[in-house]
Every structure is written in C-alpha cells, then in structure tokens.
C-alpha cells in the first residue's frame, strides 16, 4: 500500500515524514489557491531531496484559471516529468493531454462522482438494497467510462472514504483513498470570504482575503448525522476508519490529509 500525504499550503511540508513516499501538492476547489510557481519550486526541491514521488493537484477553472495553470503545468512537465496531475476539470485534461501527453493523469475527487452526502446514513433502513449499493458506488466503474479514462491517459482515480462504505464491481482503474477529510459540496460563492468584515453576500464571487487560510468552522445540526467542516468554499466530513476490503476495491494508495487541503 502506497502512502501519500496531501498538503495545499507549502508551510505544511512540516507534516511530511518518512512514512510517506509521495507528496500531493495543490488544491481541488478554488483557482485562487493554485500554488505559486515559487511554492511549487520549493515543493519540487523538497521531494527531490527526500526522493519522494510527486502529484500536482489542480482545481476546476475558468478560462482565466487555465492561464494561471499553464506555467505551473509547464514547470512540472519540464522538471518533474514523472509527476502525476490530479485533474478536476475535463478542460484541463484536454489541454494538458494535447501539450504534455507524456504526463500521468489522475481523475480527481470532483470528477469521480461519489455520493458523499452524510444524510444517507439516516435513510439506510428506509431505502432498498439497490439504492444503498448505488450510494456506495460511482460512475467510474461504468465500463464505457473506465475505458475512455484509460485511453485518455488517466492512470488512477481518487476516492473519498464514504460513511456508507464503498462498492466497486470488477474495478479496472486503480484508486487512491483520501483520509480523513471527505468533501461534500463546494461553491464559487465562498461562504468564508468576507467573514471578518461581513462583506460576504448570498450570491456573489466575493473579494477574497484568504480567510480560508485562517479559519475552519464546524457545522452541527441534528438532521446531519455527522458534523460538517467548512473551510473556505468547501464543506467536508471526517472519516478515519478504513474499509477492510481495500484490495478488492483496487485501492492501492492512501492519501493522508494532515489538514483540510484548502
């Protein structure tokens, strides 16, 4: 079992120790948090020194975000050609495949389409076995999609550790499992931006003062079976218990997040 560690802030290199053979760096949820070239270089120096493997994590992006990603991708392609790219946007896959077809791509959590909402736990006794099985699954194991992914440079898929468990039937793509933080929902109308000044509005892409780097919130409600964690524009839940059938699920990598990767 490969052990990887995922950080989104370069200061969190402090968490990396010899238990891990791969560093994930970047973020999935906000193009404003795409790492700077300077931080990427620090991460690259670090992994070369420690002889670790490297995975760059990229978010979904607008056209403006694509331009921000370009120099980052060029740096990785030039200096770390063995690196993996986690893709959370089909457009990012399209353009990177055209320009750097030698890179290894990984399908990120935003595109692996698991049913993460924790309220499924409240329904377990009220819905049919076929429905429960559906909620444990994902579209990535539909043969037409798996085949397409493999033909388009995707070498693995990233999975969250669902509270209801995971079900994969004859999975052809290798998978990574993220612990302990699992994303549930995300928005461009960031709930945290402007939280200090009160300038946040219900429906706007607010000015950002990187409040997400300072505060994490716990959301509790009797109808939500577990607490949600709000960091920046994304809500997560925590799940520390690993499935017992990792091999059957074709999971051969654990991605540990020491902090919520925002």
């Amino acid at each position: 079992m490969e052990r990887a560690i995922f950080i989104s802030n370069i200061d969190n290199l402090k968490y990396v120790d010899s238990k891990y053979s791969r560093l994930y760096f970047g973020n999935e949820f906000c193009q404003r948090l795409i790492p700077s070239l300077e931080d990427l270089k620090k991460a690259a120096e670090f992994i070369l020194k420690k002889r670790m493997d490297f995975t760059l994590v990229t978010p979904y992006v607008t056209d403006e975000g694509l331009e921000v990603l370009r120099p980052i991708a060029e740096f990785v392609a030039r200096n770390l050609p063995e690196a993996e790219f986690v893709i959370n946007d089909w457009g990012v896959l399209r353009i990177l495949r055209k320009e750097f077809d030698f890179l290894k791509f990984v399908l990120g959590r935003l595109l692996t389409k698991q049913k993460r909402g924790p309220r499924i736990l409240s329904l377990k006794d009220k819905i049919f076995p076929d429905t429960i099985r559906h909620f444990k699954g994902s579209n990535i194991d539909v043969p037409e999609l798996s085949e397409f992914l493999m033909n388009n440079g995707i070498v693995r898929v990233e999975l969250d550790n669902l509270l209801q468990g995971i079900d994969r039937e004859n999975p052809s793509l290798r998978a990574s499992l993220y612990i302990p933080y699992n994303y549930v929902t995300t928005t461009r109308y960031c709930l945290t931006a402007g939280c200090v000044t009160g300038e946040n509005h219900l429906r706007s892409i607010s000015n950002c003062n990187k409040e997400c780097q300072k505060y994490t919130f716990r959301l509790r409600h009797k109808k939500m079976p577990v607490d949600l964690l709000l960091k920046g524009n994304t809500q997560f839940f925590k799940n520390n218990s690993l499935p017992s059938n990792l091999e059957k699920l074709n999971i051969d990598r654990i991605v540990y997040q020491p902090e919520i990767p925002i």
């Binding site: 946007d89 076929d130 699954g137 194991d141 539909v142």
Partner: protein, 358 residues
Amino acid sequence: MKILAPINSLKDVKGVIDAGADEIFCGVLSHDWLQRYTNVASLNRREWKAANLSSFSELQKIVEIAHDNNILINLALNALYTKKQYSLIFEQIEQFISAGVDALIVADLGLLLSLKKRKIDIGIHISTGGTTFNSQTAKFYEEFGISRIILPRHLQIQEIERITKNCPGIKFEAFILNSGCKNIDGFCTFQHGVNEIIHPKAWDLPKRLNFDRHLLNIIRRLPPKLSRNIKAGVFGIDSACLLNYDVSFDVAANVGKKTSKKILNNISSNFNLLSGVDACGACRLSELKNAGIYAVKIVGRNYSTEKKIQDTRFIKTVLTHIEEHNLTRNEFMVFTRNAFRQVYKMKCAHLCYYPDGM
C-alpha cells in the same frame, strides 16, 4: 434568444407555450425507477416526485402538444449513474425516444459515452452538472457531437462571453430564473428529497401545493435584516444547504471575543432560508444575449402552472422589449425591475443570478 420553460404535468404545456416558451423541459420518475432506487437516487437532478412526470403516456401526450406547436421538448437525464442502473436507464431511454423527445439533458460522462456507443440518434445537451467552467471543457464536450451546453450558475457574464466566443460551434444555455443553488450543481453531493422518504405523507402534498414557494415569497417581502435571520429547519424545508447549523470554530481562532462572535454570526448568516429564494437574472438578459447565449432556462419544474406561466410571460416580455427597443444598460434595468414589480406584485429583491457588475 430562446426561452425554456419547465413542466411537470400535461396541464402546464399549453399555458407555457402560449406565454412564450420556445422549448420545454421535464423529467420522468417512473414507478419502475422508484421501486428500485427511490426518489433520492432520482433519474434526474430533481429528486422530488412532485417535480417529475410519473408516466411515459403523459410524456407522449406532452410531446404531441409541443410538436403540434413547433416546440422542442428536452428531457432531463442528468443524474450520475452507477453500473447496475444502466439496463433500466436504457429501458427508460427507449421509452423517451419512442415518446418523441427531441433532446436528452446529460451530466454523466459515462452515460454520454454509452449513448454514443449505442449510436442513439437524439440531441444531447450537456447539463449544468457537466460543469463547463471554461472553453476547453466546452470543446471537450463538443468532440462528442453534443448539440448544446447548459452553463453552470456560478459563471460571471464576462466568463460566459469568453467561453461562447471561443466556441462558436456550440449553442449555450444559461439559467435565468428560480432555484439559484449556492453550491455548484455538478459538484454538490448532498442528497435532496430526503424528507420525502422520512416523512412521505407530510412532505409530498405540501410540495405539490407549492407550500415552499409560498413561504419563500413571504420571506422575500420581509426587510433583509429580518429575512436573513430565518433559518430553513424551522419550517421543515430541510435541504442540507439550508439547515440552520450551529456554527463554531473547528480550530480556535486567534481573534478577540468580539471579532470571534462577529465571524461566527457572518458564517451562520449564509445558512438562511433567503439563500433558497428564487434568484432572477432578467435584468442581465440583454448582456447574456450579447455574450452569445442561445437560450435561457426558467427553473422550477415543481412549481404551479400559474407560476410557470407567470415566469415565462415575464421573461418573454423582457426579451421582446430588448428586441424592440435600443436601450442603455441602465434603462433596460429600470424597465426590467418595473416589469418584475408589475408581474410579481413585489419589488425585485436583488437576489441576482448574475450579481457580477451589479
């Protein structure tokens, strides 16, 4: 620019067509599907039974009326599916096709690939769930021969324009009215329609009677200071994005007590019922048209026939005004807000679909 109106019943069809709809869209939750997967794993992104047709025979009658009036009908098939569901999905698709629908609205790449593999000859619209946030994603879908892309709610008009200009071969659709979800549709994994399973009797009838919309209409008439303090849970509307969460710091914040309280209040204020109030983008229609949008979608399949007709008529009035008058942006906004007040008998609440640049 075309107008798409929602329907969930045969009785909606003539009314929205007469009010100015150019196309209609709907979803079906059949008995067969509900028996295996329930409404929470709906065949489309509207998990309430009240938002969907329940039979193919009703769909067929709707298609006949629509086609008699030269109106296209698009069918939502925009959930995300797992392998075991495919045999039933394709059984349902056969029935949609034999009923005569013009296009399927699809979000799942697995389904898109399966439709192509089976060479199913029908228009395919990429749902907002396809998360087309940039031109490259639009081109990615274009390579599958799709005929339209419905853009995410969370794009700004200038971002939309950049996509449309870079992809002249694709028709783009944007949301214009109702259901302004604050989370990104294609990336949100909360279950909806949970109450319909937990409290089936107490939930379905109020939903069919549009209780939730009437409630939201009352809330939007209240002063913002008051309306922002009304939390969803107290009324039984319990979508996870609207629950009145108890908000605390997960990690102690390095700020004073007063600032700390203010921050928690500000975060808490995101989770009010007002954030579920129907958003409107009518006063940006002119800009959306100039940005290259082909069609605008009115959301709200589960709303009453009266509301659907009212919404369609409102958008038609505004679009007609654009075509007949050469107004400045400000003049157009004043016209639209007046039209809003006349149609809905209340002031525009500034709950904008496209708040950028406002």
